[in-house]
Amino acid sequence: MTTSLVLTQLLNGLQIGVLLFLLAAGLTLVFGIMDFVNLAHGSLYMVGAFIATATSNATGSFLLGALAAVPGTMLVGIAVDRIALRGLYARDHLDQVLATFGLVLFFNEAVKMVWGASPLYSQVPSWLDGTVELLGFNYASYRLAIIAVGLAVAAFLYWLINRTRVGMLIRAGATHASMVSALGVNIRLLNMMIFGLGAGLAGLAGLMAGPIFSVQSGMGETVLIQTLVVIIVGGIGSIRGAFLAALIIGVVDTMGRVFLPIWMMGVMDGNVAQAAGPALASMLIYLLMAVVLAFKPDGLFPVKHG
């Protein structure tokens, strides 16, 4: 077990973490402020990946794909919000889950109608294709770029939430929603902005995931489950919580997948370890969530309600 393996895994965890953060940020705001459970958030990620990949394949430019994907997904998100979801805000969570699950099915079929059933071909832009030598090991440049973009977005969101008027309203909405609307703030417009922001971030995550994952119908579901784990561990409604929890989940998941089976081989019989190690590793983030829920039901970094 070398230091470079540990460092590589830390970077891998960080990279998965920031990708999860982009998704979790939008989901946690919508859940925390609008009290709306949106299972279709993963579908917006998928839409972002498809728009980005199709555009960059057609134009040969990754940047054009990026320019199309983020606003494109934002528009799709706002349209879905206006057409399908606005009537559901006042309904209970079960109705919201059923309706947004329906949207998941709808989007999975819709991308197949538009782009075909086969996975789309996507590639890393040539200027990011390659590896970088870091402290004696090679790391894919594209993954470093993901980490950089993710951290930049986190910094931007920190500024937006803590230093701007919109951010102040978002913070106020998360803790004292009725007071905010009583003060004459257009809560409907605020909601639409939050939803659009979340959709845009999901689109950005999809854009960056396109070159490393298979761009295909249904790609949003797996990532949605991990995102839900992140917002629950982080504390619903908290951007800071989503950021820290995403990094924790990313690092725990990658570290667990590598080192848990190795560690188990050391302490128990080979066959048992071979069977139990990978199974336990894939459960690790859910175990973490269960422990967090048992001891801090509001998450690790909850929004303080007044």
Binding site: M1, T8, I16, Y121, P211, F213, Q216, T254
Partner: protein, 392 residues
């Protein structure tokens, strides 16, 4: 009083309706069930397209009799597959069902269909129980027993004298089967075995472990989207060209277009490739490409042979499907020009066939395809057939 023309028209309509059952009797109904939606939909679509290629080439007939193909999507759900099979057998009264993409679906319907004495012509999944202890005279496979596509890779690795191998496969039954298949001919102990979860998207943790382990080769069984993710990430991590990647069901005809250059040069093992020179295969590939504008995958190839098998069997019975014994004999003795070359059924009614290694290359038009590079297993019988004792 009715207008004479109206009267005549209704009389004709009644006569036409009365004639319908007669026509229906002359038609043989065939059920086709596969995964046609969701992420695995392209596999079932290739199976369906190849079947219909044969049916439509013959003017809607198989074995000289008109056939009606009833297309059903099992949605990768065993319960849905069960309902479809009930419907096909009880309502549609089909005598032959073909297709079936995934092993869990096959395990869910195999007993039910064969117990009802309906012929099941599997054109993809070949779980080992179906090839072994649970074999049935009513089941024929035109694909392979699950382990075979991994055994050929293990044999290749052993032939090449590769010393240190790390395996990677999803942590579920088929993953275990494929790694076991690899080890049937590759006898040296593996250096490490990685078992990522079936829904893994990011393989960076596994790739880092492989890089740290420095093996002579990696054996991967990562079907569908898993393979696309892994192959892309493998190339991006700069591993391609450093450590040979040997695969089963990973760089297949469905995944290759999405992998692109990332897959170039990777090796995989299976029973058929689009470059086979035999005349039957050349005709199949040419017609499939002309009709569907893509290179056929192995799933299309398997289904094409299933269509040929049904065609040959029905020709032998003159289109009669009621005499089960005669139809069974016809299936057993049917001789087809398989596009894989030599083809013969073993005692478990799975093919005895050559298995090859393929390299992912670009064709003249720059599309990704497979090129035959070696044939490690000749006239191979699967590992399960000795457990099969056919009662009929």
């Amino acid at each position: 009083m009715q207008h004479p023309r109206t009267w005549l028209a209704s009389a004709l309509a009644t006569a036409a309706l009365a004639a319908l059952p007669l026509m229906a009797q002359a038609q043989v109904k065939i059920g086709f069930m596969a995964e046609l939606s969701g992420p695995q939909g392209p596999l079932g679509q290739d199976q369906y397209d190849a079947l219909m290629l044969v049916v439509e080439r013959n003017g809607g007939k198989l074995g000289g009799v008109p056939v009606q193909v009833i297309r059903e999507d099992s949605q990768l759900k065993p319960d849905v597959a069960n309902q479809i099979v009930d419907k096909l057998i009880d309502k549609e009264r089909v005598s032959i069902i073909t297709g079936v993409t995934f092993s869990n679906i096959m395990m869910a319907v195999h007993k039910k269909v064969t117990d009802r004495e309906v012929f099941l012509i599997g054109s993809n999944a070949g779980p080992s129980p179906v090839a072994g202890a649970q074999c049935s005279p009513y089941f024929f496979s035109t694909s392979w027993e699950n382990g075979q596509q991994a055994e050929v890779v293990g044999k290749y690795a052993a032939d090449k004298g590769i010393k240190k191998v790390i395996t990677i496969a999803p942590n579920y039954q088929a993953g275990k089967d494929f790694v076991a298949g690899f080890k049937r001919y590759y006898k040296s102990p593996t250096a490490n075995e990685l078992w990522p979860a079936l829904n893994t998207q990011d393989f960076s943790a596994e790739i880092a472990q492989i890089a740290a382990g420095q093996p002579d080769a990696v054996f991967a069984f990562l079907p569908g989207g898993l393979g696309i993710n892994f192959v892309k990430q493998w190339a991006q991590a700069g591993m391609k060209g450093k450590i040979p990647l040997l695969t089963s069901s990973t760089t297949d005809g469905i995944g290759l277009p999405a992998m692109g250059d990332a897959a170039l040069g990777l090796l995989s093992g299976t029973f058929w490739g689009p470059d086979f020179p035999n005349a039957a295969n050349q005709q199949f590939v040419k017609e499939f490409e002309a009709k569907y504008k893509r290179i056929p995958s192995q799933y299309a190839a398997q289904s094409y042979d299933a269509a040929q098998l049904i065609d040959a069997a029905l020709a032998k019975t003159g289109g009669k499907v009621d005499d089960k014994k005669a139809l069974l004999a016809a299936f057993r003795t049917a001789s087809i020009k398989s596009i894989r070359g030599d083809f013969k059924f073993n005692t478990n009614q799975f093919p005895i066939q050559d298995l090859h290694m393929f390299e992912a290359v670009k064709d003249a038009q720059g599309r990704m395809t497979l090129k035959t590079v070696a044939t490690p297993l000749k006239a191979d019988k699967d590992a399960a057939y000795e457990k099969c004792t056919m009662k009929m």
